[in-house]
């Protein structure tokens, strides 16, 4: 435990000093919220809807930070440490690979948490966004989305040979998911055809689940998104740990 907190403290400091994630995982979601807030104000999601457009978008905005951490931050940090032989230095110490992965994982959990904690009060304050659903259900689906996305990142970082490959794979995953899962462009405004395709991303499933939980809507087929995300999390984490390479 002492090892974990110490490593976490140092790695978190380094990560913040680097600023990339502060920008992409903390500032950017706020910017998106402000833009959506200015455009939609407190207009309802659709004529006659009980909730506003902004209330409906909150879940998606919360996942911007998850995407940034899981699909850019995490894979690049892990592969960079491998390329720079920092992992090799850790290899000749008693630390376990799982410990190192969990430390990096936790850093991005913290970013996502900070982002969410900023977004809801800001939205409530400026645009009167109310939380209509169940917090436990929302946190549960948020957490599931978080771990499944981060585990994808951990797997990419674990198997990519170097930082270049990791950033290519990361971008291939990051940009489509960010734009099409409903994180930046709301799912509801997409054409039906596109909705079907992006429905395959685990992130889309997560956002739909979070949205239902935050708006207090009923979910039919609850098990489907849960199963998809759970499976992704287990498989990717398994691969990341099994195939971990120090060098």
């Amino acid at each position: 435990m002492r090892t974990f907190t110490n490593l976490l403290k140092t790695e978190l400091k380094l990560n913040i000093r680097n600023m990339n994630m502060v920008i992409f995982a903390v500032i950017m979601p706020v910017v998106v919220l402000v833009v959506l807030g200015i455009i939609y104000q407190s207009r309802p999601a659709y004529p006659g809807a009980e909730y506003t457009f902004l209330e409906q978008s909150m879940s998606a905005v919360c996942t911007i930070s998850i995407c940034a951490g899981g699909l850019m931050g995490l894979p690049i940090v892990v592969s960079e440490y491998r390329e720079r032989k920092i992992l090799k230095r850790f290899q000749v110490t008693p630390v376990s690979p799982v410990m190192l992965l969990v430390v990096e994982f936790t850093i991005y959990v913290l970013y996502a948490l900070v982002s969410m904690v900023l977004l809801f009060p800001a939205a409530a304050c400026f645009w009167g966004v109310a939380f209509r659903g169940s917090w436990p259900a929302f946190i549960g689906s948020w957490f599931l989305t978080l771990i499944s996305t981060l585990s994808i990142g951990m797997m990419v970082g674990g198997i990519a040979k170097d930082t270049k490959i990791a950033s290519v794979i990361a971008s291939i995953l990051y940009f489509p998911m960010l734009i099409f899962s409903g994180a930046t462009v709301p799912f509801e405004v997409m054409p039906k055809m596109l909705q079907k395709i992006v429905g395959l991303f685990p992130l889309t499933q997560g956002i739909q689940l979070m949205k239902a939980a935050s708006l207090g809507l009923a979910v039919d087929n609850l098990w489907l998104p849960v199963a998809v995300m759970g499976a992704v999390a287990i498989v990717c984490t398994g691969i990341a740990v099994k195939c971990f390479q120090w060098e």
Partner: protein
């Protein structure tokens, strides 16, 4: 585990890179509490030997036992007691001296006091500086400090004083001698024969992955008929070129 008499035992170590034998059936034995020097020209296979012993590279053949353990199988238990300084150390881009020391220290059950180590190695006033802002020699000293943080029984130092000034080299020798007196076993590589002569109890001279001399400094001088160890070293590592 009781104290084995041998800190390192290597037998028949063979490493092949791209079809070329870089190490060829190497045998080594390092006794507890001694200083062992692995010598040889650039590319002779010194760093490769260290990496194969530590298990960071897989050898094609042969075995290495470190403190009686197999580094591949008992990595975590073994490295509680073994410190390593690689020839090329890298570090997180933005990290500070105190942070890198703390990060390494927290991995061990009973680490040494890293502030004191930094002080002894003359970088005590640089703790708040970024590692990348250190001079080459200061960084080298930092990496020796990192290898000593575990309070090891055995330490591997690959080119320990490369880039150090004359005074710093003497300081490092003095510290290593003190640690040796406390029972530390040291496995080092070096291109400075004065240093090898000052520190090493036994040396092995490698040439293209094969042992061309193995024994004490005195034996090296005797066998080669040279008065100075440096001449003896050159004679051994050049033998075939003369023939």
């Amino acid at each position: 585990m009781g104290k084995a008499k041998e800190a390192i035992r290597v037998s028949g170590l063979t490493k092949i890179y791209n079809g070329k034998k870089v190490l060829d059936g190497l045998n080594l034995s390092v006794k507890n509490g001694t200083v062992f020097g692995l010598l040889g020209a650039n590319g002779a296979g010194k760093s490769t030997t260290i990496e194969c012993i530590l298990g960071t590279r897989r050898a094609e053949q042969g075995t290495a036992l470190v403190l009686g353990r197999d580094p591949g199988k008992e990595r975590r238990a073994l490295f509680q007691k073994v410190g390593v300084q690689f020839q090329e150390g890298d570090y997180q881009p933005e990290i500070k001296v105190s942070e890198i020391c703390e990060e390494i220290a927290c991995l061990y059950d009973s680490p040494s006091d890293w502030r004191e180590l930094c002080e002894r190695f003359g970088i005590g006033d640089k703790l708040k500086n970024a590692v990348k802002s250190l001079s080459g020699g200061e960084r080298q000293r930092l990496f020796i400090v990192l290898a000593l943080i575990p309070a090891p029984e055995l330490v591997f130092l690959d080119e320990l004083t490369t880039g150090l000034d004359a005074k710093a080299r003497r300081t490092v020798w003095k510290i290593l001698e003190d640690l040796k007196a406390q029972g530390l076993t040291i496995f080092l590589t070096s291109h400075f024969m004065d240093e090898v002569e000052a520190l090493c109890d036994e040396v092995c001279i490698l040439k293209k992955g094969k042992t061309v001399f193995y024994g004490t400094i005195e034996q090296a001088k005797e066998q080669s008929g040279c008065e100075k160890f440096e001449d003896a070293y050159l004679k051994f590592s050049d033998e075939e070129a003369d023939a």
